[in-house]
């Protein structure tokens, strides 16, 4: 089966996030006050072929550990979406 997988990678808490800070600083000039704690990370979407949802999750997690996130500065989370059978694949 093919599982749609979403991986969210965000800067770890406590680590400076220049991109988030820059957006936060730009907002008041655009008329947006009362916006705080802006953090910018990555969202990675993929389709993984696996027999079970658990297998898909395990492989996605391993990919995060090894590749998709850098644990020195980033934290990740994995979400598994709907599954499709092979035939229906685009």
């Amino acid at each position: 089966m093919t599982f749609s997988v979403v991986v969210n990678v965000m800067p770890k808490a406590g680590i400076s996030d220049p991109q988030g800070q820059t957006i936060e600083r730009a907002l008041p000039a655009l008329g947006y006050t009362g916006v705080n704690g802006v953090r910018v990370g990555k969202r990675i979407m993929l389709e993984i072929e696996a027999a079970t949802e658990d297998e898909a999750r395990a492989r996605a997690t391993e990919m995060c550990e090894r590749l998709l996130a850098n644990s020195v500065i980033e934290a990740y989370e994995v979400a598994i979406g709907e599954a499709r059978t092979e035939g229906a694949q685009a």
């Binding site: 820059t22 957006i23 730009a26 000039a29 655009l30």
Partner: protein
């Protein structure tokens, strides 16, 4: 098959053009053929409005190995050392999506250079935008510079200079021109398909539905029953693939595996196939099943005109195809033999074995329409030229000086060029910030100087004189660093050619370039025309951007603009006229006026000045050299002082103070030299009858204009902060 009534118009072809196609083919074109004609006969690909004018430009010279007509001009700069030099525009895409528009503009010009078998070694980015008070303009500036930085840096081609000019007329039509210099790497390539039976190999990115834009009406025309989503026509750059394309291409050429070579740009696959076949009076069979696609269900017309980036086409001896595919594979590029050269003279396109297009290559590439469009001198021009040029004094000279120094078009462009790698290849002897960049060519002792200039305001006030001023200024910038100007490339940015006033401006500009290039012996090696830069009938200033290439005798002998040592003499070369204020920075910034006539240029005087500048540099007589342009004497002195972090004091003055300080008479420069060299510098000038006078000396930490003085510190802040502070207003 009958075409839907009016379809050709939606594709940008006129009724007459359609008729010409039908007559040429002896039948109605198929949809795919119509799409191919629509891109190949577009203004952009066929130069149908400009061709007849461009034909008058001088294109030959002792150093010119290849003139206009190929991917880029080729200039021999030293025995056995040749460079490719070319400029392109990506104005409209950059307005729609600044980051990717500018990025793919870089990608396009780099492939032009690559198609000649040259390694791209330097970029320049002449840019023009509206006013920085406008938030959308700030977004465009930031996005365009970021796009160039991101793409140019990633593909490993340093950006060594450019322009950043702000005028209201560019508000809805920013100009994003990019020039590229390449070093010929062994064999010179050409876009030819000489031998029947040779294979045609397409390599690089997969072909997607990018840049199909207007032609997407074909999808709905032909396939009404399916509801094709209207695709975005924005192209996203992939610098990694472009970098690999450069390395793979150069390796293919080095290994002598390629017989003919061309890039894919505007017009997609239709363009190199038709042009290469037509140039060799041959044909090509193409099998679209073999084109690697990004999206599976693409229509044949989409494959033929898609402008997906980062692709090249090589004509290859059949026995070499394996080796070509292997090298592409090594660099991680998709590649496939998509067809072969034939002697049929036709571009014959098949999908699943069925013919989808079969048209004479020459009809696509060479037989496009040629227009002699009506021209009319604008009726507003007399009145504009008769108006006062904005040369009034405002009294407070120091205030006027700081206004001009801090005006975004004059102020330091460090904000932009520090975002560009300008040092790669260990050749940047002089980087951005001076009159011209000086580059030592990798692997050689030869150095060249490059610059771009395009004084839109002068051209607006008088296109003929303005164009001459553009060429003269570009040549002077190159001469200042000690290089002999040898050739230009040019990007002609104009409004709609269908308006007689614009066409008149165009013809006048071309005439001006011709006359100046003839006088200065700098032939035109190619360029680009960008029409339709207008919004709601309001055109941009006619803006020819001249890319000048100069050659230095030795890299170590180049001269910069920075003042050197305290005690050096300040020598003003050339004649200052009091009333050269039309289109000047002073008139614009201090008096909010763009009117009158541009400064008067004497090409003979210009040649004398340049001769002296080059000679003085070559003999090692001058410590600094900087021409007088925007903002006149005052700004030139300030820029040299700031660059050298040392002040100066004027002793001499001439005429009314504000005129003397801000007039923009051309053909002038400030050089500095030690007391010991002064006599020799002065006699170099007097030998050729060039006015020269010692007007002061270098030293101290003030800009001392005799009539007022201010600390170096204050001027530095004004000059350096102007752009970043305006841009940071709401940057994100």
């Amino acid at each position: 098959m009958t075409l839907r009534e009016g379809l050709h118009r939606e594709l940008g072809l006129t009724d007459d053009e359609l008729q010409a196609i039908i007559e040429r083919l002896g039948r109605d074109p198929s949809y795919t053929e119509l799409a191919m004609f629509s891109v190949m006969w577009s203004e952009h690909c066929s130069y149908k409005s400009s061709r007849s004018h461009l034909a008058s430009l001088p294109t030959e010279g002792p150093h010119i190995l290849v003139g206009p007509g190929e991917g880029a001009g080729i200039i021999e700069v030293a025995p056995g050392v040749s460079v490719a030099w070319k400029i392109e525009s990506h104005n409209h895409p950059s307005f729609v999506e600044p980051f990717n528009g500018a990025a793919t503009g870089v990608g396009g010009i780099v492939r032009d250079i690559l198609s000649m078998g040259a390694r791209p070694i330097a970029l320049m980015d002449p840019l023009r935008f509206g006013h920085l008070d406008d938030a959308r303009t700030r977004y465009l500036v930031d996005g365009v510079v970021h796009g160039i930085s991101s793409y140019g840096n990633s593909i490993g081609v340093p950006t060594v200079g450019g322009e950043l000019v702000f005028e209201e007329c560019y508000e809805e039509n920013p100009l994003v021109n990019v020039a590229c210099l390449g070093l010929v790497d062994g064999r010179l390539m050409s876009g030819r398909a000489d031998v029947a039976g040779h294979s045609v190999v397409l390599f690089g990115s997969a072909t997607g539905r990018d840049g199909i834009g207007g032609a997407s009406v074909l999808a709905s025309a032909e396939f009404d029953e399916h509801s094709h989503e209207k695709r975005p026509s924005v192209q996203v750059g992939d610098p990694l693939t472009e970098k690999l394309l450069i390395e793979a291409s150069l390796e293919l050429i080095r290994d002598d595996l390629v017989a003919g070579f061309q890039d894919l740009g505007a017009g997609g696959l239709s363009c190199p196939t038709a042009e290469m076949a037509a140039k060799s009076h041959m044909g090509m069979d193409l099998d679209l099943d073999r084109v690697h696609l990004r999206e599976a269900d693409m229509e044949p017309f989409e494959v033929m005109i898609s402008e997906s980036q980062e692709r090249m086409l090589a004509v290859v001896e059949p026995g070499n195809v394996g080796a070509v595919l292997e090298i592409c594979g090594k660099w991680g590029l998709e590649a496939s033999a998509v067809g072969e050269v034939t002697s049929s003279g036709n571009i014959h396109v098949r999908l699943n074995g069925a013919t989808v297009a079969e048209v004479p290559a020459e009809s696509l590439a060479d037989e496009g329409p040629l227009y002699d469009r009506p021209r009319r001198r604008p009726d507003w021009l007399d009145a504009l030229q008769a108006r006062a040029p904005g040369d009034d004094s405002r009294g407070d000279l120091e205030k006027a000086f700081l206004e001009v120094l801090g005006s975004p078009s004059v102020a330091s462009k460090r904000w932009a060029w520090e975002q560009y790698d300008h040092m790669l290849f260990l050749g940047t002897v002089q980087g951005p910030g001076g009159d011209a960049a000086v580059l030592r060519l990798p692997g050689t002792d030869t150095a060249v100087a490059v610059t771009t200039d395009g004084p839109g305001r002068f051209c607006f006030l008088d296109p003929y004189e303005g164009a001459k001023l553009a060429v003269a200024e570009a040549a002077r910038n190159v001469a200042c660093v000690g290089a002999r100007p040898v050739a230009i490339t040019n990007c002609l940015n104009f409004g709609s050619p269908e308006r007689p006033e614009v066409m008149w401006q165009f013809a006048e500009v071309v005439r001006g370039i011709r006359d100046a290039c003839e006088a200065l012996a700098t032939p035109v090696t190619g360029g680009n025309v960008s029409f339709y830069n207008e919004t709601q009938g309001r055109a941009i200033y006619p803006t020819p951007v001249i890319g000048m290439l100069g050659v230095l005798e030795s890299a170590g002998g180049s001269v910069g603009l920075a003042f050197g040592s305290a005690g050096d003499a300040l020598v003003l070369l050339g004649e200052t006229r009091d009333d050269d204020f039309g289109g000047s920075e002073y008139a614009k910034v201090v008096n909010h006026t763009v009117a009158g006539r541009p400064p008067v240029l004497d090409l003979e005087a210009e040649l004398r000045l340049q001769g002296v500048l080059i000679e003085a540099a070559t003999r090692g007589l001058v410590r600094s050299s900087h021409d007088l342009s925007s903002g006149g004497l005052a700004i030139t002195l300030a820029e040299s002082a700031l660059a050298g972090r040392i002040g100066f004091a004027l002793r001499e003055r001439g005429g009314q103070d504000h005129r003397w300080l801000f007039s923009e008479s051309p053909s002038r420069a400030i050089v500095t030299c030690s007391g010991a060299a002064l006599d020799e510098v002065l006699s170099l000038a007097s030998d050729v009858g060039l006015p020269a006078s010692t007007i002061g000396e270098v030293g101290g930490d003030a800009l001392d204009f005799a009539v007022f003085a201010l600390p170096l510190e204050l001027a530095t802040r004004t000059f350096e902060d102007a752009l970043p502070s305006r841009l940071s207003a709401t940057m994100a």
